[in-house]
Structures are given as C-alpha cells and as structure tokens.
C-alpha cells in the first residue's frame, strides 16, 4: 500500500559509477517506516555501498525475515529480486538461494527479534555453514513491528530496573558470530555512515559469512541496548496528550567520530549509548584478542564498533560442498539427467 509514488527524475548531480549507474539506480520503493527510523539510514548505506562498489544492481539478491527491519529490502535495490520470507528463517532461505546460484551476491537483512529471538538457531547455523553472504542485523533491541516488546538483545545491565521486564541476559550477536566461526564480523551504528558504508562494502567483498550488527534506534518504542523503557517512554513523552496512539516524528540520530574514540550517543528516550570505535592499530585477524577486546569493553559498558574480525581467505559453503562453478540453477538437462543407459545399469545391479 505505497500511496506516494516516487519522483523518478534524475538529479543532475547524480554521478554515474563505473558501470554507468547512478545512486538512484540502487534505490528502491519509498520507505513506509517511521520518520527517523534507524533502519532507513541502513538502507541508505546499503545503497551507497552497492553504488560505490559498482555492482550491477540486479546481481544482488536481498533476503529477509519479518519485522520493520525485514521490510527494508523493499526500500533499496529495486532492480534486485527480494524475498521477505517468514519470521526468523531468512538464514535458511538465503542458504538455499545461495546453494542454487553461487554467482549472485546475497544480502541477508534481519532484525534483532528476527535473528536473536525466534531465529537464533538459523542465524548460528547459517554462519557455521560459511554461507557466502552479508548478514546485517538492524538491531534496535526491540520488536518494532509488533509494537515494542523486548527482544533478546537488550542490555543485561538494565535487567533489574523494572523487575518483571527485561530480566533475561542479553544476547550479543557479535560475540556469538565470532564463536560460531563467521569469517567477517563487524558492528556499527545506523547513523554512522562514514563507518557503515565501508563496512558493508568490505562485507560484500568478503567471501564467506560476513556478519554486521548495526545498532539502529527505533524512534517509536525506544528499546535498544541501554534502555528499559519501551512503551513507558512513549507514555511519558506523550504526556501532553497522554495518548498511546500518537507518534511524534523524530529526527534520525547520526554520529561521526574517529577510530579509537568513544562517542556518547543520547538516544530518543534519553538513554546513553557509548560507542567505541576500534583503534587504527587494532588487528582484526586475531580472533582470540577480538573476543577478549569485546568482553573487556562490554564490561565497561562500551559497545565496540568497527571491523572486529576477518579471516581473509575463508572458504565458503560451495568450497565445502565442492560444487561445480556453473550455478546449479543453470545446469541443463544433459548435465542433470543420467539417462536411460545409466538407468539400465542400475536396474541390472538391483536384480
């Protein structure tokens, strides 16, 4: 139900890339997300990354689960096929798509509810299978589309503030991805285009399972790492009218800070997020120190961002399966059907 049709006039300033495509060629439908939603910033970063990488737009395949985040593939790369599958099961669908055609570039887009709650198993197993993909979680620490329930990624530090809610330990998807053998692991913030675009580019260029956890504030329900407020917040901030069904338009939160530094981000609900960008001399090829690094900063309440780990020469699922170079969906009858002679031999062996 997109009622606004998008102006398709090319802006004279839009520069074509090496393939002759402008940034507009990488765009999708008009977003129906809330104004200021972090997810839209991620879509913009994906568009920018694909444009800068000179990718033929139709050679990407975009797959997602269900959620506000999972809707976003409709809002970028309109010339790519997209698949908004079922809640929490994008990883398996992507795995199958990748098995069928090794030549496309696979982008998996998911939310924290989609990947850390219902989809945790599939998240983990797609990573340990080394599926060649870029797996982005648009992590707002909340179920946006179903209106503000806690997801599995909210911060453990906030566990006892309200007693009954959010008492569970939080799941750190970056930590898990590292443990599960992802060969590219990064974290960023939706508003940090300067960091996010290069990370997405690197992830797409990487062969194997690339995982990027992107913190992406939900302007409606305001749950995210560091917050326990959710609906309460909406209640308080709408005190003037005290109505739950009114949603105030908000501005996107952006940041821009240097490697090695900490940026303190004040979110819509007033809570604080401390982002620590990895220093320029950080060695992302040492897994153990990546894990230690993460744990140490986490103890200090800091969320480390940047490229945390990469195994440059990773093998992928097709290497493991030793599949032919021709995509399986393009093999012809002769390559697929052994024919009647072979069948005769089989019949003979069964007598």
């Amino acid at each position: 139900m997109t009622y606004i049709t998008k102006p398709r006039l090319h802006h004279p300033l839009l520069q074509p890339n090496a393939l002759g495509f402008t940034r507009r060629d990488y765009e999708g439908k008009v977003s129906t997300l809330c104004a200021g939603c972090g997810h839209d910033s991620i879509s913009a970063a994906i568009i920018q990354a694909a444009y800068e990488l000179d990718l033929p737009p139709h050679r990407l395949a975009k797959l997602s689960g269900i959620g506000c985040s999972s809707k976003t593939p409709d809002y970028f790369l309109g010339n790519s096929h997209g698949f908004n599958s079922v809640h929490g099961r994008m990883p398996s669908v992507l795995t199958g798509a990748n098995a069928a055609n090794r030549e496309l570039i696979y982008l998996g887009v998911s939310g924290d509810g989609d990947s850390a709650s219902i989809g945790l198993g599939q998240f983990a197993h797609s990573i340990r299978r080394s599926v060649n993909m870029t797996y982005i979680v648009e992590n707002n620490g909340v179920y946006g589309l179903t209106k503000g329930q806690f997801s599995a990624t909210s911060d453990p530090g906030s566990k006892s503030k309200r007693g009954v809610v959010n008492h569970d330990q939080s799941i750190d998807l970056v930590g898990l991805a590292l443990q599960l053998g992802a060969s590219f692991v990064a974290r960023s913030f939706s508003g940090d285009k300067a960091q996010l675009v290069p990370l997405i580019k690197a992830a797409i260029s990487h062969k194997g399972a690339s995982f990027i956890d992107v913190i992406s504030p939900c302007v409606q329900f305001n749950n995210h790492v560091g917050s326990t407020k959710s609906f309460d917040y909406v209640r308080e901030h709408n005190a003037a009218m005290n109505r739950l069904d009114f949603i105030e338009p908000r501005a996107e939160i952006t940041v821009d800070y240097a490697p090695g530094e900490v940026e303190v981000v004040k979110q819509h609900d007033g809570s604080i997020l401390r982002l620590r960008k990895v220093a320029p001399d950080y060695d992302p090829t040492d897994k153990i120190s990546a894990i230690t690094h993460l744990q140490l900063h986490q103890m200090r309440g800091e969320v480390v961002t940047g490229l945390l780990y990469v195994e440059p020469d990773a093998a992928d699922l097709h290497d493991h399966l030793h599949t032919v170079q021709t995509p399986l969906n393009q093999l012809d009858d002769a390559e697929l059907i052994p024919g009647s002679l072979a069948l005769d031999a089989i019949n003979d062996s069964l007598r």
Binding site: G82, N84, L94, G96, G121, V324
Partner: protein, 611 residues
C-alpha cells in the same frame, strides 16, 4: 499334520538388532528371488540401536503377491530368547519352528501342533570359531545354510550371492561359503526334510528389488533435483543418504570431479524446508525428505510456498503417529496434514506411489509438477515402501523427455517487453509467470512475500485484490487435477455396484484381497488413486458405484475425508477400511473387513485395526 507348500509360504526371522542378522536374512530373501520366485520381505525393527528384538518377514509367493498376507507364519526362525513365546505363538498350526538347540529348553516352551527343528547353532559356532565376533556373525550365515537345505534353495544361488557381495575379498567369500556349508551339513545330518519347498520358477522376470527411498532418491536425480536439504529422521533418512550416493556416482562432473548437486544437512526440519524454498525461489529444483514430526515443523514454510508460489518437493516417508508415535512402524497418517498443511486456506498436491518403481517415477515427476504449479508437492511414501526392498518393474526413462521448468520468463522474454506480472493469470490456468533472480538488469525483479499483494507483486491489503488472488489459487488447483497421474483401475470380473479405493503401499495387499474376494464370489472394482487433487476419473469411479470402500492405513480415514471434502461425496457411500496398527496392512484383513461389511445389511463405518 505338518504344513506342505511349494513356493508359497511365510518365513519369519526373530533376531536381536545389531547382531548382524539383517545381512544374512537379506541374503536368504534374495536367494529366493534368484530361484525365480517373487519375494516380499519386511523388516520390523525397534527404535533403538542394539539389543532389542527385530523381525524379518519373508513372504514367498510364486503367485506374485507382494503385500502382507496376514495370519500366522509357516516357518519361524526363532533366534531371540526375549521374544520366544510370542514367536512360537505366531506359527500357523502345522508350521515349523527353527531354533538354536544348543541350550535345552523345557517342553512347555514348545507347542504340540508345530514341527520343531532344532540345530545347536551356538555349539557349532563355538566349535568352529574362537573370535566372539565371528561366532556371532557366522551363526547367522550358518542358519541360512541350514534353511537353504531344508526348503531347497539351490547351493549355487547362495554361492553367487556371496561372491557378488564380497567381490574381490576372497577371504570373506571363503569364510562365508564355509559357514553356509556348515549349516547345510548340520541340517542334512540332523533334520528330516520339511513340507515347505522352493522350486525354481520364472516368475521374477526383469523385475528389480529395491527400497522405495532409494528409488525415490534416484527419481529426484532424474527429475533434475540439485539441492537436497534434510534432517535425519526415521524412516526418511535413507532417502537423503541414497540421493547423496546416487549423485556421487551420477552427478559428478567427469572432468573436474565437482558436484552438480548440493546436499545440506539442516539443523532441523524448519531449516531444511527453508533451504528448499530458498533454492526453489532461485530456480533450482530442491527437495527435503522427512516424516510426520518434520511435516509438522514445516507447516509455516509450506504455507509460504503456497501463497508466494514457490516450487518445493517434500518426500514424506510416513511412520506411526501421532507425535513420536511409533518411529519404526508404518502408516499412511499424514495425508490430511499434508493436503491442507499450514494455517489459512491452503491445499497442496500429493503423489501416492505404490511401489519403488513408482517412487522413481513420482520422484522425478514431483519436480516437474512443483515447477509447473509453483507450489509444494508432497510425495507420500511410508516406512513399508521406503525402507523395505520391494520387487517391482525396472526403472524406465525416456531419453527424449525434457524437464518441465514451468512458466519462467527469460531475459529475452523480458527484453522483448512481454508483460510480467508475477501473480498475473495470463493463460487462464491460474498459473502466473515467474522470473529468476538476476535475470535482467532492469526488468523482472519483484519482491516475494507471504503477504497479500496484487498481480504485479505490489503489497496490497485490499479485500478484492486478496480475494482475486485466492480464487486464482483455487483455479491453479483445478489445473493441478489435470496434471496429477490418473488413477489405475482394476475392474472386477463382473459388473458390480461395489468399488474400492486405495493408494500407496496398500496396493499389493489390496490386489490380493480383491482376488480373494473374487474367489469368494464377491466382486469389487478397484481403483488405485495416485495423487491429490483427485482427477475426474476418481470422481467418476465413485459416482459409478453404490458403495466404495476406502482402504487406508490410518485411524481417521484421511483419504476418505479428502474425497468427501473435495469431491462433495456423500460420506454414506464411502466405507472406511482401516488398518493402522503400524504393521503393513494384510490381504486377509482387508478381505475380512470387506466381506464382513458386505454380509452385514448395513455398511456402517466401524474403523478397526489390522490384526
């Protein structure tokens, strides 16, 4: 009086699983085939790895009846002390009990009305071998040798089988032949000839002897399946394993040694069907194989496949339900769940193979149907057909046959400006064209989803748009009726108002039952249904009869339900005959049920279990 029969009796082996008996028993069955006499052998095994009872029932039938017959067995090979009592009890009066007489047993352990054939197998083994492993293993071979002597299996037949099995391993050949000879000699010395005899015949012809799971997997290879995603579960596991093995042989690039297929063991059934759906979306032929619990877990994805119209194939090798039920027993009890899988209004095509030959055919056909209909197609096997070796006609393939990829718009189609509406019914058959990801730089891309959308795949929550799409899906299901294999009729010798509908692994027992009824003067037209939705012939058959027995292996008469619901048939004319105790339905059970209902004035449906 002792039973006498030639080429027509049942031998049952009672063993302990993990003791190596399966191979020996299998050799026994195969030797009968090699004598030119049809055999139907069925394994009855526990859900356990080692130490629990297992049986192997070999039906020898020159007449070619390959279903279970029912009743007691003519010859029991009782090798398991744990089940001795029930094994002895299951011998037909006048039948034979073969056992290991090394340890004396009190007379109360036997019956007066059977003939007892004791050989001191353990003692023989202990004398011949020192290694405990050899003692155990060769005991099985020794009893095969003894039985061969008793019923008259030719020595050369067994020798050939041993040579075929061990190929170049001369030591193994020799030791096995020696063990066979030991058994033969012991029997010759100690036992008198018995009334059950094998006589060479030529009733096997060019038939093959193969498991349905392996056949279905081979069908998948010929059907062009390239992606298999699965999760282990009895009795479907061997289907995926066979597919892997077939592909290794038949689908490896001869030059590079690379695989023209991908087999992925999912972390569970949800992942498996998800992988299949992803691969199907992307234009590869993909399948999973599972059993009841897996089908339950796959429901949500099957609904997605239905509504987003993505080809997928599921081999459901049915076992005893509900829940974990009887994992190593057979049933046809997932029919209803598969037909209407998932929430909302959904219907899915099903195929019902009768034997491994048809498992092969339908295994291949399913992929053409899935691509043509852009939906999930279920191939409904069961444990009986899937995990037992069945004698069936050889596999056939017409080399001129092409894979039917269904309606897929190519680059050229798009380039020449053909109208593309992903859910647009251009041909009036309810089937729209699809495009494959990456096909064209500017045209053909669309956003697939399980939510309602218009014919051009644009999101829509509007009622009329939704309804039009749901009606188109019904039209597509009508089209499916014309693609599902037609039923196979088995008319009675005389005109009759009585019909019987049956499907799948029930078929051989059913055909025998129809013969038995015929012999009693009861005439029933048979119709073997081969798939769902039912084509017009099925409905015409039901229309043409006053009473139709619906014979199936489940409690709730699930196929009967489908016939009523989809065909608008009055339930009063559909009489359920239900055998669902987990062992394959028998000809005698079916015969008794049908003749009971015919004798009684009314044909009230009173579900009852086999045996």
């Amino acid at each position: 009086m002792s039973l006498a029969a030639v080429n027509d009796f049942v031998v049952k082996f009672a063993n302990v699983n993990g003791s190596g008996s399966a191979s020996a028993n299998g050799m026994f069955a195969k030797s009968i085939l090699r004598m030119g006499v049809p055999v139907a052998a069925r394994n009855i095994f526990p859900s356990n790895i080692q130490g629990l009872p297992t049986w192997y029932e070999v039906r020898v039938s020159e007449a070619g009846y390959l279903g279970r017959r029912g009743g007691g067995v003519e010859l029991m090979v009782a090798m398991n002390p744990q089940t001795w009592d029930q094994d002895v009890a299951s011998i037909e009066p006048g039948g034979y009990l073969f056992y290991d007489s090394s340890k004396p047993l009190p007379p109360a352990k036997f019956r007066n009305d059977i003939e007892v054939l004791g050989l001191p197998l353990t003692a023989i083994c202990n004398a011949a071998y020192t290694d405990p492993r050899q003692r155990q293993l060769f005991k099985n071979i020794i009893y095969v040798g003894a039985l061969a002597h008793l019923i008259g299996i030719e020595e050369s037949v067994l020798e050939t089988l041993v040579r075929e099995e061990f190929g170049s391993k001369v030591a193994l050949i020799d030791s096995n032949l020696k063990a066979l000879a030991m058994g033969r000699d012991a029997a010759a010395e100690n036992l008198a000839p018995i009334g059950l005899r094998m006589r060479r015949a030529d009733k096997v012809g060019d038939r093959i002897y193969v498991e349905g799971n392996s056949a279905a997997a081979l069908g998948a290879v010929y059907g062009g399946a390239t992606v298999c995603a699965w999760y282990p579960i009895t009795p479907s596991t061997s289907l995926a394993e066979a597919f892997t093995a077939h592909c290794q042989k038949l689908r490896t690039d001869p030059k590079t040694g690379e695989a023209r297929y991908a087999v992925i063991q999912g972390e569970d059934e949800i992942a498996s069907i998800g992988i299949v759906v992803g691969a199907g979306w992307n234009g590869a032929r993909a399948f999973t194989c599972t059993s009841g619990p897996g089908v339950s877990l796959m429901q949500e994805f099957v609904g997605l496949s239905y509504f987003a119209e993505i080809p997928a194939v599921i081999f459901d090798v049915q076992r005893g339900g509900p829940s974990t039920g009887m994992p190593t027993r057979t049933q046809q009890s997932d029919v209803l769940l598969a037909a209407y899988a998932s929430h909302g209004d959904t219907k899915h095509p099903l195929l019902f193979p009768e034997d491994p030959a048809e498992c092969f055919d339908f295994g291949a056909l399913a992929f053409d149907l899935a691509d043509r209909l852009q939906t999930t197609v279920f191939v409904m096997l069961d444990l009986d057909i899937g995990m037992n070796e069945w004698l069936c006609r050889p596999f056939r393939w017409d080399d001129s046959r092409k894979l039917d990829r269904g309606k897929v718009m190519t680059y050229d189609d798009l380039e020449t400006g053909k109208v593309f509406g992903r859910y647009l019914d251009v041909d009036g058959d309810g089937i729209a064209y699809r495009t494959l990801p990456g096909v064209h730089p500017e045209r053909g891309a669309y956003f697939t989803r399980g939510t309602s959308r218009d014919p051009y795949a644009r999101y829509s929550e509007e009622g009329p748009v939704y309804v039009a799409n749901m009606q188109r899906l019904l039209k597509k299901f009508e089209t499916a009726k014309t693609l599902i294999p037609a039923p196979v009729a088995r008319p009675a010798k005389r005109r009759t108002p009585h019909g019987a509908v049956y499907f799948g692994s029930t078929t051989p027992a059913m055909h025998e039952a129809l013969d038995l009824l015929e012999a009693q003067g009861v005439h029933v037209d048979g119709l073997r249904v081969r798939g769902f939705p039912f084509n017009d012939e099925v409905m015409a058959f039901i229309e043409a009869h006053e009473t139709v027995f619906v014979v199936e292996q489940n409690r709730d008469a699930q196929l009967r339900t489908l016939i009523m619901v989809e065909g608008g048939v009055d339930p009063a004319k559909l009489v359920p005959v239900l055998g669902y105790d987990g062992s394959p339905i028998t000809a005698r059970f079916i015969t008794d049920e049908i003749s009971r209902r015919m004798q009684g004035s009314s044909v009230t449906p009173t579900p009852q279990a086999a045996e």
